[in-house]
């Protein structure tokens, strides 16, 4: 395997140029739409084309004074933070419990939360809405948060499960040997050592919550999040203000994803 890969990597200048062009094309294909969204958001006119007659931040000023957008931004932030906290706590306790199981049960416990991921988002959203309605829980940002927790939990579980694979549980034995009780061990050894993974998982949850649309659409009711406001505005007509909202969502999501990758990839020593 390694051998074959090293042979593939060892090739002439022609091959290297072809590879570079290929990668460049993929990157352009992936990111060009995003770049366009961001560029247009700084337009000085209400033109949606790429003529870029001038640079301005007027569209950002406009949405910053739009009470509907500001309220939605607040709700999105609230949803992201609460989702991260709840899924973080649930995921940590669940993963810590699951690693004590035998291999067969552990596999089962780590697989079941993945099921909603394989489900079409639309059906999942409708299902949630029906369920909330049936149990008499009204539509609100809190209903959305509950949905986001379900969505984020498998990712938290996977990140923490991977971290616990590498965790040296014998360190807990050492702490117990030195006189520490279960809670002290958790506070002084388990938590500090898992902190990078926990933070990474929480950033990931926030990123998932921030740009989630379908669940919010079916469960938020009148308490719209930013993606919902964006969608509503598109139906009313397009202007660069929408791009400004989109750009903000994009920036926040990318920052969170970056933080998630950075913190959880950090080697646990």
């Amino acid at each position: 395997m390694t051998h074959r890969r090293s042979r593939l990597l060892r090739r002439g200048a022609g091959g290297r140029i072809t590879a570079s062009v290929y990668v460049a094309l993929v990157l352009i294909f992936l990111f060009a739409p995003l770049v366009v969204v961001v560029l247009v958001s700084f337009s000085s006119t209400s033109n949606m084309n790429l003529s870029l007659s001038g640079f301005s931040i007027r569209w950002y000023q406009q949405i910053a004074t739009d009470p509907l957008v500001v309220a939605a931004f607040g709700r999105t932030a609230l949803a992201a933070i609460v989702t991260a906290l709840i899924s973080g706590v649930l995921g940590l306790t669940g993963a810590l419990g699951a690693v004590r199981l035998t291999r067969r049960w552990r596999t089962a416990v780590f697989t079941v939360p993945l099921v909603p991921l394989a489900f079409p988002a639309l059906l999942f959203g409708i299902g949630l809405a029906t369920f909330y309605h049936a149990i008499g829980l009204g539509f609100s940002i809190w209903a959305t948060i509950a949905g986001h927790v379900i969505l984020a939990l498998p990712f938290v579980f996977l990140v923490l499960g991977a971290a616990l694979e590498r965790f040296r549980f014998s360190l807990l034995e050492a702490a117990r040997d030195l006189g520490a009780g279960s809670f002290t061990i958790f506070r002084t050894v388990t938590l500090p050592l898992l902190r990078p993974a926990i933070l990474g998982a929480m950033f990931l949850s926030m990123a998932i919550s921030v740009d989630e649309f379908v669940i919010a659409f079916f469960t938020a009711g009148s308490q719209q999040t930013l993606p919902l406001v964006l969608y509503g505005r598109i139906n009313l007509g397009v202007n660069p203000g929408l791009n400004a909202i989109g750009s903000i969502l994009l920036a926040v999501t990318m920052a969170l994803a970056f933080l998630a990758a950075r913190t959880s990839v950090l080697e646990i020593p």
Binding site: R168, S170, L171, E173, A174, A175, R176, D177, L178, G179, A180, G181, T184, T188, V189, P192, L193, I268, P269
Partner: protein
């Protein structure tokens, strides 16, 4: 011997199963105050499990464990007056050396200033003073070893448990740490229970050694007792190396059985109880107890001048193996098969070469009988 102090650790008929497998079988043992005690045995013999039961990480299925006279069976590890040095040290990677070593004192709510001075003093004792602010990952293997030792010893436990603590170090450092560990132990006077599979290490450091095999404690004794008077063939073979041979008893004189396998040859072995003439014995002798002399040809092949008149076995040197301080002579004897004689190496050249005719001899008391049978059918 004046009257012995009560044992620091006592195991009373301790048995432990892992599923259907018996890990520790009916082990009773007393560890004395201030003693360096080693549990020695091959991997999987139950020595680590025994240690972990004393620490409180495993609970015995039967039997009881006492520390300083009180029954600690069922008491969790954090409530036992014993501390452990782990095989892989298990230093906390997110803490400095100082935080690692003072961890136990902090848990016990020892006053900050006292904790600080005790931690400093212990780091000095084990030879890593000045490394307080380092992280575990910034330490060499030997330094980690010392910090792990300090982290356990600073709590002043009644007994320190060490689980193969030197096995991760290279040979040279290992030798040095063995001596230092022994020195630290005698200067602090702490009772040590030391688990190892390295017989040399156990012989070098221990006041007493317990040999384990397949969950059973086979023999307990000083290094010399274990080595010179092993209780059975497993102990004899595990501690040091052995020549084994089989002989037919021709005559018995007191606690000495003699065979006369060939013309002029005489094999004498010490026995615990006199066997009947005609019995077969399975006998062992350590290579360093086998003496070598050149066989003179002047008197028609009869050994004229061995240093020991009691024992004479003729042979031809098959191979000479130079091992630095020692040389092994592999001697082929018609009577007993191949016998290894271990000698101190000569500086210039070996006194015997392959093909030399030699006479082997030994003191009858240096041998041990592994098994005996009357008809020669059954043996070891």
């Amino acid at each position: 011997m004046n009257d012995r102090p009560p044992p620091v650790v006592r195991l009373d008929r301790v048995t432990k199963y892992f599923g259907p497998v018996i890990a520790v079988s009916d082990v009773s043992l007393e560890i004395r105050e201030g003693e360096f005690f080693s549990l020695l045995g091959p991997s999987g013999c139950g020595k680590s499990t025994t240690l972990r039961m004393v620490a409180g990480f495993e609970e015995p299925d039967r039997g009881s464990i006492f520390i300083q006279g009180s029954d600690v069976t069922g008491t969790p590890a954090n409530k036992r007056n014993a501390n452990m040095v782990f095989q892989n040290y298990e230093l906390f990677p997110h803490m400095t050396v100082f935080e690692n070593v003072s961890y136990g004192l902090k848990i016990k709510r020892v006053a900050k200033s006292e904790a600080r001075s005790r931690t400093q003093a212990m780091l000095e004792t084990v030879g890593v003073g000045g490394l307080e602010d380092r992280r575990a990952s910034q330490l060499s293997g030997g330094q980690q070893q010392r910090v792990a030792l300090a982290r356990a010893l600073v709590n002043e436990p009644a007994v320190l448990l060490l689980d193969e603590p030197l096995s991760a170090l290279d040979a040279k450092l290992r030798k040095r740490m063995q001596l230092e560990l022994k020195a630290i132990q005698s200067s602090l006077g702490t009772t040590f229970i030391y688990v190892t599979h390295d017989q040399e290490e156990a012989l070098l450091m221990s006041d007493r050694i317990g040999i384990m095999s397949q969950g059973e404690l086979l023999q307990v004794g000083s290094a010399r007792e274990i080595y010179e008077s092993p209780g059975n063939s497993f102990v004899a073979d595990f501690v040091g190396s052995l020549n084994e041979f089989r002989m037919r008893v021709d005559e018995v004189a007191g606690l000495r059985a003699v065979a006369r396998p060939g013309d002029g040859e005489r094999v004498a072995v010490g026995v615990a109880s006199a066997p009947a003439p005609g019995a077969f014995l399975q006998v062992a002798i350590r290579p360093e107890r086998v003496r070598l002399a050149r066989r003179g040809v002047a008197n028609g092949g009869v050994a004229e001048k061995t240093r020991d008149e009691e024992c004479r076995v003729f042979g031809v040197v098959g191979e000479v193996m130079y091992l630095g301080p020692l040389t092994h002579y592999l001697v082929d004897t018609p009577a007993l098969g191949r016998i290894v004689s271990q000698q101190l190496s000569e500086r210039r050249e070996a006194p015997f070469a392959a093909g030399d005719h030699v006479v082997l001899s030994w003191e009858a008391e240096a041998t041990f009988v592994l098994s005996s049978s009357s008809d020669g059918a059954g043996e070891s």
